[in-house]
């Protein structure tokens, strides 16, 4: 197995960044979020959870879909030979659509935890099903995922409940698995893409027989995971086909009241993928972009004739039904939550998916 000392990680980042764009957790102004590594950036793989999740790599907050250039031409030019039609209005609008650029160069996502890697699988089922979203697909094809095991899971983590293994990134759909053990990063390529990446930086690594060490680390992490307060959380009653049972329940009225409808949970969640499509008018054309949106916002489903989710209870219920019932119904029982615990840590009013699940369990 390959290994590199922690002190030398900066050279590893520099080496990777020499051939690829390197997207990894970077500490800025006291907080760690994914960003593109540049010389001088403080790469941070010690912090367990980035505030924003790894979904940024494939589904960025703002994505340019296309640009439209508008040209106003005299009507007789527009109408061609039909001078009669040109008589009514003096000018016509002509449009030119330029699609947004697709990612066409490989890039590396470094230090992705098992929960975030599982979240990518969840999003694949949405974006890569027919009709395929080409923006997401091009990022996915060019992204090389380097997953990192979780040395010290936190109390807000409950990924094991969804079958995610924080100890063994090689089980996840990643290209390279890494472990941080005793000041050294251990590296194991899992796929062809991973091998190609490894080859580019192999001269920075040492080679050692670390299988036993890694196994020990895996057992240690698994032991910790079992002690986490939510390790035994039961998903009974949730899943595919449970719409009728859960939708009309009175429990929703008990859990939604504190919700501000702010959208924090949506934006830190690694699987939330609802988006809005908007226009931004500039002098160089109209940029049509898509950006993250939240079903918690009051104008999410707003229509001219009155929207269909007018109360916060309905919006709150929608988000959790989507995560725990609707998505599994459409995707063979796979849950849309990966147990990362970001909503547990970040909700301003301390609401989260664990509280919802527990409230339903108590009110059987």
């Amino acid at each position: 197995m390959y290994s590199i000392a922690k002190e030398n990680l900066n050279s590893l980042y520099a080496a990777i960044a020499g051939s690829y764009d390197l997207f990894m957790p970077i500490k800025t102004a006291g907080q760690t979020n994914y960003g593109f590594w540049k010389e001088g950036a403080e790469g941070d793989i010690d912090t367990l959870k980035t505030i924003r999740s790894g979904k940024d790599a494939f589904f960025p907050q703002v994505e340019q879909l296309y640009t439209v250039n508008r040209e106003i031409v005299p009507a007789d030019v527009a109408a061609g030979d039909d001078a009669e039609k040109a008589a009514d209005t003096p000018v016509r609008t002509k449009l030119k659509v330029t699609p947004g650029k697709l990612v066409d160069q490989d890039f590396v996502i470094f230090g992705m935890r098992a929960c975030d890697v599982r979240a990518i699988e969840v999003m694949d089922n949405v974006f890569l099903t027919d009709p395929v979203d080409s923006y997401y697909k091009s990022r996915r094809e060019h992204g090389i995922v380097v997953a990192l095991a979780c040395h010290e899971p936190e109390e807000s983590c409950f990924c094991t409940v969804f079958g995610v293994d924080p100890a063994d990134p090689s089980k996840a759909k990643a290209d390279v698995a890494t472990w941080m053990i005793d000041g050294k990063l251990y590296w194991k390529a899992l796929t062809e893409k991973g091998e190609a990446l490894t080859a580019k930086v192999a001269d920075l690594f040492e080679q050692e027989d670390a299988d036993a060490k890694v196994e020990e680390e895996k057992s240690y992490i698994e032991g910790i995971a079992k002690q986490l307060p939510n390790a035994e959380l039961s998903l009974e009653g949730w899943g595919a086909g449970k719409t009728d049972e859960k939708f009309k329940s009175e429990v929703w009225d008990k859990v939604y009241k504190g919700c501000l409808g702010c959208g924090t949970c949506t934006f830190v969640c690694p699987t939330c993928q609802c988006y809005d499509i908007k226009d931004y008018t500039t002098k160089d054309g109209i940029q049509r972009y898509r950006c993250w949106d939240s079903c918690m916002y009051s104008d999410f489903t707003l229509m001219a004739g009155g929207q269909n989710r007018q109360t916060q209870l309905q919006r709150f219920r929608q988000r959790f039904m989507h995560k725990l019932v609707y998505y599994p119904t459409n995707n063979d029982g796979m849950f849309m939550c990966v147990g990362c615990g970001r909503c547990v840590e970040k909700c301003p009013q301390s609401l989260n998916i664990v509280k919802v699940i527990k409230a339903f369990a108590e009110n059987k």
């Binding site: 505030i51 109390e155 986490l228 307060p229």
Partner: protein
């Protein structure tokens, strides 16, 4: 805390109020949740400890519209927000029964996390009546921190533990102010414009436009927020470019100027830990300097200097020069 619970139960039982707003125990020891309490058994989950930092006054906007009176537990800083809401006719005072609750400072779990404390199983030493250190029982061993070091930033510059509006007060308070309120603002004022720009650019680049700050702020209670209005270009849900990401915070700071009571909720809820209170405090400092000391929410009858025009008002040219201060 038991005294508080008993009193709330009493108020409901004798019909003075129909429901109470307080905090419910969280699934973690540090995340109690603002909640409604109506039946006696609801109070089995009631908690009031050092982690109850949420400002409950904003919940009264909706609660006061319900049938029957609602009791609400307000900390000293929360009462300023409530007064401000009365001033703006946002909340029905008649339908509210205010219990001023004692406070010895509220805690920020992020401070513990910064010290590397994780895998928390239980926390001791955070009761209202307590003293001494806070002890964390974690999977990775026991850790201790001084209560003072765990406190929210805003508690270090506490305006004072006197409730400015209440129907009754329950519980003792302890003074927690040990820093100057405008110290951070002065530090930034002393920076060169380039340094200041770099500082805020770095902080605001973390912003994910989650709107937590706006939704939790008691001063932000517009029925149709300008940022939700599709008629203006300000309804950008995301930061399309770096200009946008600053626009949101600066516009919001302007909108709450003179009405912000400095309750500190915006900074507490920001998931990225952006020190939003700095913008608001700068406005407060400027208002104090130009119009005389004014604390929003202290007196519900007082006119805010920004909506009160007098002949002695400062002229813009005497306030700031371009690129100054």
């Amino acid at each position: 805390m038991q005294e508080l619970i008993n009193r709330l139960k009493e108020l409901i039982a004798d019909g003075t109020v129909v429901r109470a707003i307080g905090w419910k125990k969280g699934d973690m020891p540090y995340n109690p949740e603002p909640a409604y309490f109506e039946k006696p058994e609801d109070f089995d989950n009631f908690v009031y400890d050092g982690f109850c930092g949420a400002n409950l006054s904003k919940m009264m906007i909706e609660a006061a519209k319900l049938e029957g009176k609602t009791a609400v537990c307000l900390k000293p800083c929360d009462t300023y927000s409530f007064n401000q809401l009365i001033r703006e006719h946002r909340v029905n005072r008649e339908n509210t029964y205010i219990i001023g609750v004692g406070c010895r400072g509220k805690l920020d779990i992020e401070k513990a996390r910064k010290e590397g404390i994780k895998g928390i199983k239980s926390i001791a030493g955070v009761d209202i009546e307590g003293d001494g250190d806070v002890t964390f029982d974690t999977i990775y061993g026991e850790k201790k921190m001084a209560y003072k070091d765990l406190m929210l930033d805003r508690c270090h510059v506490c305006k004072g533990k006197d409730h400015v509006i209440f129907d009754e007060v329950i519980g003792e308070s302890k003074d927690t102010a040990d820093a100057d309120r405008f110290e951070e603002v002065i530090k930034i004022e002393k920076m060169t414009p380039e340094e200041r720009f770099a500082f805020f650019k770095s902080e605001l680049s973390k912003c994910i436009r989650c709107n937590a700050c706006r939704n939790v702020c008691p001063a932000c209670s517009c029925r149709k927020c300008v940022f939700d209005n599709t008629k203006f270009d300000s309804q950008q849900k995301a930061n399309v470019d770096s200009f946008e990401e600053k626009m949101f915070h600066i516009i919001r700071a302007f909108h709450v100027a003179g009405r912000c009571t400095d309750c500190g909720e915006c900074s507490r809820v920001c998931p990225e830990g952006i020190p939003l209170h700095l913008f608001n405090r700068k406005f407060i400092k400027d208002i104090d300097t130009f119009y005389g000391e004014f604390q929003a929410g202290k007196d519900p009858e007082a006119q805010s200097p920004l909506t009160d025009f007098t002949f002695d008002d400062l002229e813009p040219k005497d306030a700031v020069g371009r690129g100054d201060k």
